[in-house]
C-alpha cells in the first residue's frame, strides 16, 4: 500500500507545476493546460483522501471537478479560438486592449 503522503506530495508537485506554468507561460493554450494540471493535482489529493478514509464524498467531488473542467474547457477553447481569429496571436501579453 502506497502511503497517503506519497499521493499528497505528487499532488502538490502537480499543482506547483500547474501554477508555475500558469505564471511563466505566455501561450494561452499552455496556460489553459496548466489550469487542467492544477485541477488534476487537486483531484488526485481528493481521491487519495477518499481511499485513505474510505469516504465516497471525495470521489464524488472529483466527478464534479471533472464536469466543471469539461465545461470550462468547452467555453475556454471557444474563447481561445475567438481571440485567435481576432488578434491572430495566442500570446496573452498581446491581448491587452482593455489596458490603459
Amino acid at each position: 500500500m502506497v502511503p497517503l503522503s506519497y499521493y499528497l506530495v505528487l499532488s502538490g508537485i502537480l499543482f506547483a507545476c500547474g501554477v508555475t506554468g500558469f505564471i511563466i507561460k505566455r501561450n494561452i493554450i499552455t496556460i489553459f493546460m496548466s489550469i487542467e494540471l492544477m485541477l488534476n493535482g487537486v483531484n488526485l489529493s481528493f481521491v487519495a483522501f477518499a481511499a485513505n478514509w474510505k469516504a465516497l464524498s471525495g470521489q464524488v467531488f472529483v466527478f464534479f471537478v471533472m464536469v466543471v473542467a469539461a465545461a470550462e474547457a468547452a467555453v475556454g477553447l471557444a474563447i481561445i479560438i475567438a481571440v485567435y481569429r481576432n488578434r491572430e496571436t495566442l500570446n496573452v501579453d498581446r491581448v491587452n486592449l482593455l489596458k490603459l
Binding site: 500558469f22 505564471i23 496573452v92 490603459l100
Partner: protein, 672 residues
C-alpha cells in the same frame, strides 16, 4: 352681501394679455399686438367701472375669496380680493390711467422693435398692480408688490442694449429690495404676533390694542418696517435714488409706473395699514418727517435739472413726499386724494413730455428746446393745464389736494406746513421753469437732428411736428381729469363738502377710535357718513381760507419768479447759479447722494465681495480645499494603480503568493 363681482377677473385679464403678447407677440403684427394689449387692459378698466357701478349696493368691505393658498395650522392665507372705498379709488386710477397710457403707448412705441415685448410687460405690470391694490391680505399684496418691481425693472431696462438703461433697471430693483426687506420683516412680525395677514382679521386684532403713545413697541416697529418698504417703492429718503434713474425707460413707462401708479403703492400700503400706524404715533411722526424732507429735498434738486424727464422725476419724488406728509399727520384720505390727482396731472405731464420729446426727435435736454408753443399746440395746452394743476393754481386738481394736505399738516405742526408751502413754491417754480424753457422763447435745438435718444431711431423726422392722434387723445382726457379731478374734494371753506374725504371716511374711521380723539370735537359720535375722516377743524373756515390763500400765493410766486428768470431775463439764472457757487453745484449734482451711497455702501460691498469673499474665501478656501482633495486622491491612486497592471500572470502570481502564505501559515500553525 352674497353678490359675486368676480373681482379676480380684474387682475387676470391683463395677465392673459401679457401672456398672449409675451409668448406669441413676436409673430403678430403691430396692429394685433396693440389690439390684444388694449383689449385686455380696457376690459380690466371696464370691469373696474362695472364694480364701481355696483359699489353702492355692496356691504363694505366686500371680500371675495377665490382659492385657498396656504394652510399651516392656525395660519392661513387665501387668494382673496378686498374691495372697499380705498381699493376702489386705487382700482379706478390704476385701470383708468393705465388704459389711457396703453393707448398713448401704441403711438409712442410704434417705431420700436420691441413693440410686442413692451406691451407684454405693460400688461404684466397691470396684473401685478391690480393684485397689489385688490389683495385681501399682506402676502398677496406682497406678490403684487414684488411683481410691480419686476415689471418696473423690465421696463426701465427696456432698451437693455443701452448700458445706462440696464444699470438703471438694476439700481431700481436692488434699491427696492432694500425696502422689500423691511416690508417682509414687518410681515414676519405680524405673523408672529397676530397669526394672520388677512386685513379684516388683522385690523380687528390691532384695533383691540391701545395706542403706543408712551413708548415705542411692537406696532411702532411694524409701522417703521412697513415704512421702509414704502420708502423703497415710493422713492422716499433714503431710498429715492432709483426713481430719477428710472427715467431711462420709455416715457409711457415713466408716466404709468414711475409717476401715476407703482410709486404710489407705498402710499396705498401705508394708508391700508392705517390701523397699525394710528396706534404707533412715533412711526407716524417718522413718516411725516421723511415725507417733509423728501418733498423739500427733491424739489430743490428739481430746480437744477435740465433733462425734462429728470425734472418730472424729482417732482414725482417731491409730490410723493407730500402724500407721506399727509399720511404722517393721519390725514389718510388727503394723501389718497393727492395720490389720485397726482396720477392725473403727473401722468399727463410725463405723456406730454413724451410728446415733446417725440416732437423734437428724441431730445430730452430742455436747454435745446424752446418756442414749441405754436408748433405742438395740443401738447402745449395739455401740458399747460398739468403744470398749473401741479403748481396748485385753483381750480385745477392739484390745488385742492395740496391745499387739503397743507391744511391738515398745519393742524399737526406748523413746521410741516411751512416746509410744505415752501416746497409748493419750489414746485411751482421748477414746473414753470420747465414750461417756459420748453414752450417759450426761441427754439434752441437742432430741428433736423433725429438722433434717437429715445425710441425714435430711423423715424425720419421732418422737423418739429405734433404727435399722432392716438397720443393726443389720452393727453386731452387726462387734461380734463386734471381740471375736474379735484372737484370731488372741494373743502368746506370753499363752499364744497369734500365728498372725497367723506367717501373714504368709513375706511379710515372704522378702526381709528383713538388717535384723533386728542383733538376731536365733542360730537364725535355722529354717524360716520356725516363726518370727514378725523376731525373737522374747529378753527373755522376763515383761517383755512387764509392758508389756502397763502398756498395759492406760493404757487403764483413760483410762476412769477419762473417768468422773470426764464422768460424775461434768461441770463439771470446763470448769474445766480454762479454766485451761489459750490452750493449750486452740489444741488445740481443731486447733493452727491449717489456718490455718497457709492462710497458708503457700494464700494465696501464690492471690495468686500472681491477681496474677502472672492479672492479670500472662494478662491482661497473653497477652491483650494476642493483642489487639494482632488490632488490628494490622484496621488494616492497613482501609487495604488500600479497593482492593477492588467497583466493576468501578475495577478496569478499574487494569488499564488497569497495562497502560499496561507498555506505556510496553516503548516506553521499545524506544526506548533
Amino acid at each position: 352681501m352674497t353678490s359675486n363681482l368676480h373681482l379676480w377677473l380684474i387682475p387676470i385679464l391683463p395677465l392673459i394679455g401679457a401672456a398672449i403678447n409675451g409668448f406669441l407677440g413676436k409673430r403678430f403684427s403691430r396692429q394685433v399686438v396693440s389690439t390684444v394689449a388694449l383689449t385686455f387692459s380696457g376690459a380690466a378698466f371696464a370691469m373696474a367701472l362695472y364694480v364701481a357701478s355696483q359699489f353702492s349696493s355692496l356691504s363694505l368691505p366686500h371680500v371675495e375669496t377665490v382659492a385657498a393658498w396656504i394652510r399651516a395650522g392656525q395660519f392661513q392665507v387665501d387668494f382673496g380680493f378686498y374691495l372697499d372705498q380705498l381699493s376702489l379709488v386705487m382700482l379706478l386710477v390704476v385701470t383708468g390711467v393705465g388704459f389711457l397710457i396703453h393707448i398713448y403707448s401704441v403711438g409712442y412705441m410704434w417705431e420700436d422693435d420691441g413693440f410686442y415685448r413692451f406691451f407684454a410687460y405693460l400688461n404684466l405690470f397691470m396684473f401685478f398692480m391690480l393684485t397689489l391694490v385688490l389683495a385681501n391680505n399682506y402676502l398677496l399684496m406682497f406678490i403684487g408688490w414684488e411683481g410691480v418691481g419686476l415689471a418696473s425693472y423690465l421696463l426701465i431696462g427696456f432698451w437693455f442694449v443701452k448700458d445706462s438703461a440696464a444699470s438703471a433697471g438694476k439700481k431700481a430693483f436692488i434699491t427696492n429690495r432694500v425696502g422689500d426687506f423691511g416690508f417682509l420683516i414687518a410681515l414676519f412680525l405680524l405673523i408672529q404676533h397676530f397669526g394672520t395677514l388677512t386685513f379684516a382679521d388683522l385690523f380687528q386684532k390691532v384695533s383691540a390694542l391701545s395706542p403706543e403713545t408712551t413708548g415705542a413697541g411692537l406696532l411702532t416697529a411694524i409701522g417703521l418696517l412697513l415704512m421702509v418698504g414704502a420708502a423703497g417703492k415710493s422713492a422716499q429718503i433714503p431710498l429715492y435714488v432709483w426713481l430719477p434713474d428710472a427715467m431711462e425707460g420709455p416715457t409711457p413707462v415713466s408716466a404709468l409706473i414711475h409717476a401715476a401708479t407703482m410709486v404710489t403703492a407705498g402710499v396705498y400700503m401705508v394708508a391700508r395699514s392705517h390701523a397699525i400706524f394710528e396706534r404707533a404715533p412715533q412711526a407716524l411722526t417718522v413718516v411725516a418727517i421723511i415725507g417733509t424732507l423728501t418733498a423739500l429735498f427733491a424739489a430743490t434738486i428739481g430746480i437744477t435739472q435740465t433733462d425734462i424727464k429728470k425734472v418730472l422725476a424729482y417732482s414725482t419724488v417731491s409730490q410723493l413726499g407730500y402724500m407721506f406728509i399727509a399720511l404722517g399727520v393721519a390725514a389718510f384720505s388727503a394723501g389718497i386724494f393727492h395720490l389720485m390727482t397726482h396720477a392725473f396731472f403727473k401722468g399727463l405731464l410725463f405723456l406730454a413730455a413724451g410728446s415733446v420729446i417725440h416732437a423734437v426727435g428724441g431730445e430730452q435736454d430742455m436747454r435745446k428746446m424752446g418756442g414749441l408753443r405754436t408748433k405742438i399746440p395740443v401738447t402745449f395746452w395739455t401740458m399747460t393745464i398739468a403744470t398749473f394743476a401741479i403748481a396748485g393754481i385753483p381750480p385745477l386738481a392739484g390745488f385742492f389736494s395740496k391745499d387739503e394736505i397743507l391744511w391738515r399738516a398745519y393742524q399737526a405742526s406748523w413746521i410741516y406746513w411751512f416746509i410744505g408751502v415752501f416746497t409748493a413754491f419750489l414746485t411751482s417754480f421748477y414746473m414753470f421753469r420747465l414750461w417756459f424753457m420748453t414752450f417759450f422763447g426761441a427754439y434752441r435745438g437742432d430741428a433736423e437732428s433725429s438722433h434717437g435718444h429715445d425710441a425714435h431711431g430711423g423715424h425720419g423726422h421732418g422737423g418739429i411736428h405734433e404727435s399722432p392722434k392716438i397720443m393726443l387723445v389720452p393727453l386731452v382726457i387726462l387734461a380734463i381729469l386734471s381740471i375736474v379731478g379735484g372737484w370731488v374734494g372741494v373743502p368746506g371753506s370753499l363752499g364744497g363738502s369734500n365728498r372725497f374725504d367723506k367717501f373714504l371716511g368709513p375706511v379710515f374711521r372704522s378702526t381709528s377710535p383713538s388717535l384723533n380723539a386728542n383733538h376731536a370735537a365733542p360730537g364725535e359720535t355722529a354717524p360716520p357718513e356725516n363726518e370727514t375722516e378725523g376731525t373737522e377743524p374747529q378753527t373755522g373756515h376763515s383761517t383755512e381760507l387764509i392758508f389756502t390763500g397763502i398756498s395759492v400765493l406760493a404757487g403764483l410766486l413760483g410762476l412769477a419768479l419762473a417768468y422773470l428768470f426764464y422768460y424775461q431775463r434768461p441770463e439771470l439764472p446763470q448769474r445766480i447759479a454762479t454766485s451761489l457757487g459750490g452750493f449750486y453745484e452740489a444741488v445740481k449734482n443731486k447733493y452727491y447722494v449717489d456718490e455718497i451711497y457709492a462710497a458708503i455702501f457700494i464700494k465696501p460691498l464690492i471690495d468686500g465681495s472681491s477681496k474677502v469673499l472672492w479672492k479670500g474665501i472662494d478662491q482661497g478656501l473653497i477652491d483650494t480645499s476642493v483642489n487639494d482633495a482632488a490632488d490628494g486622491a490622484r496621488d494616492v491612486s497613482d501609487a495604488v494603480r500600479r497593482m492593477q497592471s492588467g497583466n493576468i500572470r501578475s495577478y496569478a502570481s499574487w494569488i499564488a503568493l497569497g495562497a502560499a502564505c496561507v498555506l505556510a501559515y496553516m503548516v506553521w500553525m499545524g506544526t506548533r
